[in-house]
Amino acid sequence: MNDLKDLYREVILDHNRAPRNFGELDGADRVVEGVNPLCGDRMTLYVKIDEGRIADIKFKGSGCAISVASSSLMTERVKGATVEESMTLFDKIHEMLAGNGAALDELDKLAALAGVREFPTRVKCASLAWHALKTALSGAEDRVSTE
């Protein structure tokens, strides 16, 4: 069977216990609300963009460990990155969660999310934050749902 230890790795548990960049961000350029109706995950992502770079990023909301940890890991990773780099990262994460064999070593800490692949019902929990990020960076809408 699928190993729970692979899903709930130490990095995931740590970021769930103590999420980084948690809270509201004053003066955010983009605010996107993300919902996962299946499990009631709800998060708001705040992004401040300065000259094509993510100058600051925060999130708040409530959700399962996978969703909180994914949000936390994401904000930690993309803070300071360019919009373009972040979009590329979105694609890699998407590939990894879809099980298309993304290069895990490039993803570094984010590779901890790879265990989610074996739990199809939880993929949406991990991808919620990333969809919110993509929406925020493309600036098209202010609401995203995993349904």
Partner: protein
């Protein structure tokens, strides 16, 4: 843990093993462990008699109903109408014309909301409660938007019971329809529908009871209740999905306009005028779910062999046992009504419900996690989601022990 919490109750159905053996799905392993199926409020498993009836219907009697003069069509019609009569007798309805087959509770409620609801006017009120399932909120919201009527939700208490004093104050001469769950899917509360029906009838309002969560747990007598409509689903009472029933009082159904148009629901059709068929066919447009209806009839046969007093005591004993165990683990129980069916909704401080669901599943334990299609209930109790274990007559103490072991594992992982 107190001695009381660890004591195993004695008021259980004596021969649970042979009862369980009648449900083939329960005999399987999940992730290498015996399945502990505790998601009965979402959907219950089918006993052998229901499965046999479905197979027999498809193997031998498959044909359309009410149409052909050939033997198979006759047999299909007989089986389909025979099921309707079984359900009529079971509910103590006065005639088979009061039993409309639908796809399930949701369609039954939509039928009443669309048909009876089309007569609502500006200033009229539809009274529901804060604990309703989305399927007993949204159909009314839609018809209120169309007609200008107002949807009024009655409040519930901290224990998850309808506040009857407040409810009584909300019933007034503008109230046209009252729609209320017999048993709450998210909280397990058994509502005092008799009192609600009496209050509503005093002002001439019609009452629809959402019986989706009641049918597998208690004997329902629509004549004794005096409800105007009673809606339920087959798949929550040991039959398959895609079949359900709307019971309605004849004089009301008679006066209501059709819900959907099509074959079966007409007597004669011309481009100028269509004459609708008699009840219940007026509300059964199109070829129905014949096998589903036959299976539901078989489920009713099965329920007729069940001693509901014993089942209620059994489920109550499981609920009490499980409640004490989860409380001992530090869980917060959502829904602590005095009268509850076998539904245990809870949250653990450290572990989100969705993580609880995944972890206990890895132990072969099936529960539901999420908002249970009752987001206003979640909001009322300030939680985004709960974990819900729900019991049926075939569950035993091992199922509960397995759940508790799964929860202990979750707490360990999230220590």
């Amino acid at each position: 843990m107190s001695a009381l919490a660890s004591a195993r109750p004695e008021r259980l159905v004596k021969d649970i093993a042979s009862l369980r053996a009648r449900f083939p799905a329960l005999a399987q392993e999940v992730h290498g462990k015996r399945l502990a199926y505790l998601d009965n409020a979402a959907s219950s498993q089918c006993p052998d008699v229901v499965l046999d009836a479905m197979l027999e219907q498809q193997r031998r009697n498959h044909a359309n109903v009410h149409r052909g003069v050939h033997a198979l069509s006759e047999r299909a019609t007989e089986a389909y109408e025979g099921a309707r009569e079984k359900i009529r007798a079971y509910l103590n309805a006065s005639g088979v014309d009061e039993i409309v087959f639908t796809r399930g509770t949701t369609e039954s409620i939509n039928l009443v909301a669309s048909s009876l609801g089309s007569r609502l006017e500006l200033g009229d009120e539809v009274l529901i409660t804060q604990m309703e399932h989305h399927s007993n909120i949204i159909p009314w919201q839609l018809v209120c938007e169309r007609t200008g009527a107002q949807l009024v939700p009655a409040p519930i208490t901290d224990r998850g019971e309808i506040d009857l004093d407040e409810f009584a104050k909300l019933v007034n001469e503008r109230t046209r329809i009252v729609a209320v769950a017999h048993v709450s899917n998210a909280l397990g509360t058994v509502n005092p529908v008799e009192q609600i029906i009496e209050l509503a009838h005093r002002v001439g309002a019609y009452v629809l009871v959402d019986g989706a969560q009641a049918m597998a747990h208690m004997r329902v007598d629509v004549a004794a209740l005096d409800c105007d409509f009673y809606a339920f689903s087959g798949h929550k009472m040991f039959a398959p999905t895609g079949i359900g029933v709307l019971y309605g009082k004849r004089e009301l159904l008679d006066r209501m306009p059709p819900y959907q148009g099509g074959g079966e629901m007409i007597l004669s059709v011309s481009f100028e005028k269509t004459v609708y068929n008699a009840l219940p066919y007026k509300f059964e447009a199109g070829t129905p779910n014949i096998t589903g209806a036959v299976a539901l009839g078989a489920a009713v046969d099965f329920l007729n062999t069940i001693d509901f007093d014993a089942v209620a005591a059994h489920e109550h004993a499981l609920l009490e046992y499980a409640t004490e165990k989860v409380l001992a683990l530090g869980a917060r129980v959502i829904g602590t009504a005095e009268h509850k069916a076998g539904v245990l909704s809870f949250v653990l401080d450290r572990v989100h419900a969705h993580d609880v669901g995944t972890i206990v599943d890895s132990e072969g334990v099936a529960i539901r996690t999420g908002h249970h299609c009752a987001m206003p209930v979640m909001e009322r109790f300030g939680v985004p989601a709960t974990a819900r274990a729900s019991f049926a007559l075939y569950n035993d103490l091992d199922d509960v022990d397995r759940l508790i072991a799964g929860l202990e594992r979750a707490l360990e992982i999230f220590a």
